[in-house]
C-alpha cells in the first residue's frame, strides 16, 4: 500500500507546487492522476518516487518511508531515457547489476518476452521506434519487480495508435502481476481507459479537487456509451476545478 500524507512542496522561489496532498493507494489499484498543466502532478509523482523530498508530509510504501528512491518503487518517465551506449538487454538489466549474470540474463529475457521484444535484446536504442523504446523502459522498470510502479505521462510522446497499443499492453502486464500503478496524464481518454480510480488535481497551489472510482470493468471498450459517460464525468470534474482557478485569477 502506498500512502502519501499531507504532502507539501514549496520551491525555493516561493512557488507552492503542492499543498496538503494526501493519497492512499491500495495494492493492485490503478490510480490515474489528471490535471491541467502546472497543477503539480509531475511533482507529486516525483515526491512519491523519492526523487524529490516534500517540504512537509511523508510518503510510505508498505510501511517503509520513502525519502529517496526505493527498490519497492519503480519509475517510468515520459521519455524512455535509455542509455544509448547499452544494448536493449543491458538497458533492461541496468537495475540488476547486483545479481549473478545468469540470473540477470534470465530475468531480462523473461521480461523482454513479456513486453513483446524478445528478439530485440541485441539492438541499440537508436534502432528502436518510439513505442519500442518505451516498452524497453517499461521492461527496465518491471524487471526489478517493484510493488508500486509510477508512470509520468508515459505515452504522451507517442502517436495515437502506438499510444492505444501501449495502454492495452500496460493493462495486460498489470492483469498478470497486479502491481500498484500510479499514472500521471493529461489525456482524458487514457485516464478513463486505464484507471480504477481517478484523482483530479487543481492548480495554484496544486491540490486534490476530487477523486472518484471508474465504474467500468476490464476490458473496456473505448466506443461504449459507459466509457463516454466516464469521460464526460472526468471532463466535468476537470472543468470545474479549472473554472474555480480562472475565477480566482480574474477576480
Amino acid at each position: 500500500m502506498l500512502e502519501a500524507h499531507q504532502i507539501r512542496k514549496t520551491y525555493p522561489n516561493g512557488t507552492v507546487a503542492l499543498h496538503d496532498v494526501s493519497l492512499n493507494v491500495t495494492a493492485g489499484e490503478i490510480v490515474v492522476i489528471v490535471g491541467g498543466s502546472g497543477c503539480g502532478k509531475s511533482t507529486l509523482l516525483r515526491v512519491l518516487s523519492g526523487l524529490e523530498r516534500p517540504s512537509a508530509g511523508w510518503v510510505s510504501v508498505d510501511g517503509a518511508r520513502i525519502e529517496e528512491p526505493h527498490p519497492a518503487v519503480g519509475m517510468i518517465f515520459q521519455e524512455p531515457r535509455l542509455m544509448p551506449w547499452l544494448t536493449v538487454r543491458q538497458n533492461v538489466g541496468f537495475g540488476l547489476s547486483h545479481l549473478p549474470k545468469a540470473e540477470r540474463l534470465a530475468r531480462v529475457d523473461e521480461v523482454l518476452a513479456r513486453v513483446g521484444l524478445a528478439d530485440y535484446g541485441r539492438r541499440w536504442p537508436r534502432e528502436l521506434s518510439g513505442g519500442q523504446s518505451q516498452r524497453v523502459s517499461i521492461a527496465r522498470a518491471l524487471v526489478t519487480q517493484p510493488s508500486v510502479l509510477l508512470l509520468d505521462e508515459p505515452f504522451s510522446a507517442l502517436d495515437a495508435f502506438t499510444r492505444i497499443e501501449l495502454q492495452d499492453h500496460l493493462l495486460e502486464l498489470w492483469a498478470g502481476s497486479r502491481q500498484t500503478l500510479v499514472l500521471v496524464t493529461h489525456d482524458i481518454e487514457e485516464a478513463v481507459a486505464l484507471a480504477t480510480r481517478l484523482v483530479v488535481l487543481k492548480p495554484a497551489p496544486g491540490r486534490i479537487a476530487t477523486t472518484f472510482d471508474v465504474q467500468l470493468g476490464q476490458p473496456r471498450s473505448r466506443l461504449s456509451i459507459a466509457f463516454g459517460d466516464e469521460k464526460r464525468r472526468l471532463l466535468a470534474a476537470l472543468d470545474h476545478s479549472l473554472s474555480e482557478f480562472r475565477a480566482q485569477v480574474s477576480g
Binding site: 529517496e68 528512491p69 542509455m83 537508436r126
Partner: protein, 280 residues
C-alpha cells in the same frame, strides 16, 4: 578558427563514422580519387625539372625528396629524428591529457572549483601558447623539460574544455535513471557519466593530439639537436629544401597515423554511436 580545425580535422565527424559517398563513387574509388591531384602535380613537376623547364632548386622534384628520405633512412638519422619527435609528443600529450582531464573533471563536478578555477584557465587559454616559450626556457632551460611542458600546455586546454563541456552537458534525465536504481556515486560515475562523456572526450583528445603535433614543431624550433623540427631548421639554414619537404611529409604521415590510432582505439567503445554504417 576552432581548435579542432586548427588540429586538422572536422569536429562534425565522429570517430569511426564512415562518410557517405555519392553513389557513383563506390568502394575504393574515392580513395584513389584523392591521389589523382598530388600524383599529377608531382609527376608534372618532375617532368618540368627533368626537361629543364624549371630548375627545381628551391622546389625539389619528388625524386630528390625520395632520395633524401632514402639517404636519411640509411644513415639511421631519420629514425633518430622521428623517435625524438614522437617521444616528445607522447610525453607532452600524456602530461597535458592527464592535467586537462583532472582539471576538467574537478571543475565539472564541483561548482565551487569551477567558479574558482575556470576564469583563470579561460584567461590563460587566450594566451597563444607559443608566447610561453621564452618563459619556459628561463624556467626549465633549453632541453627536454621546456619542450615537453610547451606541448603539454598546448594539449591541456582543448582536453580541459572538452571534459568540462562534456560533464556539464551530461543528460540530467539519464542521471536520474541512475538515481532511481540507487547507484552509488562511484557506480553512477562509472556506469552513466563516463560512457556519456566518452564521445566528446575522444573528440577533445584528437584535438589535443593535433595541437601536440603543432607545438612539437614550435618546441623543436627553440633549439634542438634532433627531431623533425630540427630537420626543418637545419634544412633552412643549409639551404636543403628537400630535407624540409621530407620533414613536412613525415609530420603529415605521423599526424594522420596517430589520429587514426586514437580513433581506432576508441571505436569499439563508441560502436553504439556509429549511426551511418549499421543503420538500414
Amino acid at each position: 578558427m576552432g581548435i579542432a580545425e586548427q588540429a586538422g580535422f572536422s569536429i562534425a565527424e565522429k570517430p569511426g563514422t564512415k562518410a557517405r559517398h555519392p553513389k557513383r563513387m563506390r568502394g575504393l574509388a574515392p580513395i584513389f580519387a584523392g591521389f589523382i591531384l598530388p600524383i599529377t602535380l608531382g609527376l608534372g613537376w618532375e617532368i618540368a625539372v627533368r626537361t629543364g623547364v624549371a630548375d627545381g632548386r628551391l622546389v625539389p622534384p619528388p625524386s630528390r625528396i625520395f632520395e633524401t628520405v632514402v639517404e636519411l633512412a640509411q644513415s639511421g638519422e631519420l629514425l633518430l629524428h622521428i623517435k625524438a619527435t614522437c617521444l616528445r609528443v607522447l610525453a607532452g600529450f600524456s602530461g597535458g591529457t592527464l592535467a586537462g582531464t583532472l582539471l576538467g573533471a574537478i571543475a565539472g563536478y564541483s561548482l565551487l572549483t569551477r567558479r574558482l578555477v575556470d576564469p583563470t584557465l579561460q584567461a590563460l587559454r587566450a594566451v597563444p601558447s607559443i608566447a610561453w616559450v621564452p618563459l619556459f626556457i628561463l624556467w626549465f632551460g633549453i632541453f627536454e623539460t621546456s619542450k615537453i611542458t610547451l606541448i603539454a600546455v598546448g594539449v591541456l586546454f582543448p582536453v580541459y574544455l572538452g571534459v568540462l563541456g562534456a560533464i556539464l552537458s551530461v543528460d540530467r534525465k539519464i542521471v536520474e535513471v541512475g538515481r532511481v536504481f540507487r547507484l552509488s556515486p562511484f557506480a553512477l560515475t562509472r556506469r552513466v557519466l563516463l560512457p556519456s562523456i566518452l564521445p566528446a572526450y575522444v573528440v577533445a583528445l584528437r584535438g589535443g593530439l593535433g595541437l601536440g603535433w603543432m607545438f612539437v614543431v614550435a618546441a623543436e624550433f627553440m633549439g634542438a639537436s634532433e627531431g623533425l623540427g630540427y630537420l626543418l631548421v637545419d634544412g633552412q639554414q643549409l639551404g636543403k629544401p628537400q630535407q624540409i619537404v621530407t620533414a613536412i611529409l613525415i609530420f603529415a604521415i605521423l599526424g594522420q597515423a596517430s589520429d587514426w590510432l586514437l580513433s581506432t582505439a576508441a571505436a569499439p567503445f563508441l560502436r553504439w554511436q556509429d549511426s551511418f554504417s549499421t543503420s538500414d
